[in-house]
Symmetry: C2
Amino acid sequence: MADSRLTGPVRVVGVGLLGSSVGLGLRARGIDVILADASPTHLGIAVDYGAGRAPAEGDEPQLVVVCVPPDVTADVIAAELEAYPEAIVTDVASVKLRVLDELTARGADVSRYIGSHPLAGRERGGPMSGRADLFAGRPWVVAAHDGISYRRGGVVDDLILDLGATLVEMTPEQHDAAVALISHVPQVVSSLMARRLVDGAPSALNLAGQGVRDVTRVAASDPQLWVQILGANAAPVRDILTAYRDDLDRFIDALGDVDAPGARRRIAEELAGGNSGVGRLPGKHGVDRRFTPVVVMVDDRPGQLAQLFQDVGDIGVNIEDFRMEHSPGAPVGLAELAIVPEAVESLIEELSQRGWRIAG
Amino acid sequence: MADSRLTGPVRVVGVGLLGSSVGLGLRARGIDVILADASPTHLGIAVDYGAGRAPAEGDEPQLVVVCVPPDVTADVIAAELEAYPEAIVTDVASVKLRVLDELTARGADVSRYIGSHPLAGRERGGPMSGRADLFAGRPWVVAAHDGISYRRGGVVDDLILDLGATLVEMTPEQHDAAVALISHVPQVVSSLMARRLVDGAPSALNLAGQGVRDVTRVAASDPQLWVQILGANAAPVRDILTAYRDDLDRFIDALGDVDAPGARRRIAEELAGGNSGVGRLPGKHGVDRRFTPVVVMVDDRPGQLAQLFQDVGDIGVNIEDFRMEHSPGAPVGLAELAIVPEAVESLIEELSQRGWRIAG
């Protein structure tokens, strides 16, 4: 840890989801937060919401956190570096190299700028969507670069730790390649898949199950924001999409004559590669072999899930993850509880004794 | 409804997930179920599991349900049509035209065959994964064709309704085009995305959030099964994948020079097309505007979710959907409840009074 400590004031520029969440989180720790936004209306809402105070004459922020859309991030950082010559400036944009390059090109004092990116978000935006715990437990990348010493940037570390996030150090290049792979390319893949649904017959769409819903969920994201993100990280995204397209071409070729020698093997290899890839994702969600699903049938009415969770709690088993599955019009739903394997047998037995129908 | 009623016996060939579920569901309605499987071990397990009985001399099934892998479905149907000249035969394979064509080509008596396909499944296979309610509320396509009268095929309708599924009539061509769009192409898109993760740096994969997990979830599916499915439905899958590839090519081109005239507009249009497509998916999941999310912070320990659901039940609000979000190592999780918009305000107020921290 650096010897500079975050004492504030911290100036947060842009009070959307991320900015207001930074403000709320720092206010909860008693730090003086100064808010700024191009929209006086948004600024007023964020102040009323408790995310910080309006700027005042003579403010001398120790740290500035720029939380504006990617397209204007470099402009705002440059202005803040000039306006507050003693302050360290960071930003939370989801692309890092482009911002640093723009600042360097215009001769900004990057010895006081260190970019960062919290891997946190939610579907809603605006100051009212902010929450103090948005970053809790989430990775927050600090994009180190040669122009700033680790010691000088220490207040950014403090910011991240104060907000409960997990600090991850990367170069801007490493960061941009990483988010291209785990965020930007999946967004494109999902959007293009969802685009195919536009021409689908309603009778076809009515057959949709959880698979296509999962694949296309992020396709509901805001196109205007994503144009900025993809535009600012075009090269890494393009590289991965090109490799994806090459795989896709091979796949389409193999489907052209599935009885040709090697065609089925090629398809199987591509699919097996997908198995390997998804198996590399860490954490609780996705294909997680640390937990075992137990499926319980529940009636679709108030109190049923409450009773189930009450019973599971009474049995003393922790629910690691939970998913509800039910079809429109069906009188019952299926509650899938993910629990540690050791607890499966006793949980099933005890739930059954309490009258629950275990479906798997 | 046809005047032939399903009274049994029903012979189920293949006792994997689908076959054992058909058996369990029919047994629950008191119908005599005869099980058959190429594996005596599997057959024994399914019988012990209560999905039906072993075959006996002189069995005269009214209906045969073929639940074997796609590659051998036509062979097994042909054999069953010959062995039981009075029986109606159906199957549950996820591709319909290829099976019918193969049967016609070999001169099978398709006047007693009507293909079908339940849109139901789960990640686990084998007889022990079967459950009587697997088909409850799920669509089940009957692929009508010219060779069989609706009246004669009536027992298939009865089968579907007895198992609690929703009957959907389609031609084999309509069915295969529909599942190509809502199941087979999403599988390919997801697998190829997951394949890109194979080369990702561990530090990149550690940044993965819910988006990439959702996009790649189905990539964990069994390659051997999917080679058969995709091979049997190659033409419709190829058509959609080719259109997808054309969109992808345009996308990659636009990323090649995002500052070229029209490039950003093209990217935005592709993404907006994805918005439109995902918005067409019906039902509770995905982008569902009928319900509003309420996010509540919960400690990651036994009893917490129980208490939350208890409280929501006491307040008298029905939880339409539920999602748990938490990061490894984080002491709290975020429980996202989907509820009807009318109930949001009072739920938030009452939960807050009970001490819950509402995060959004």
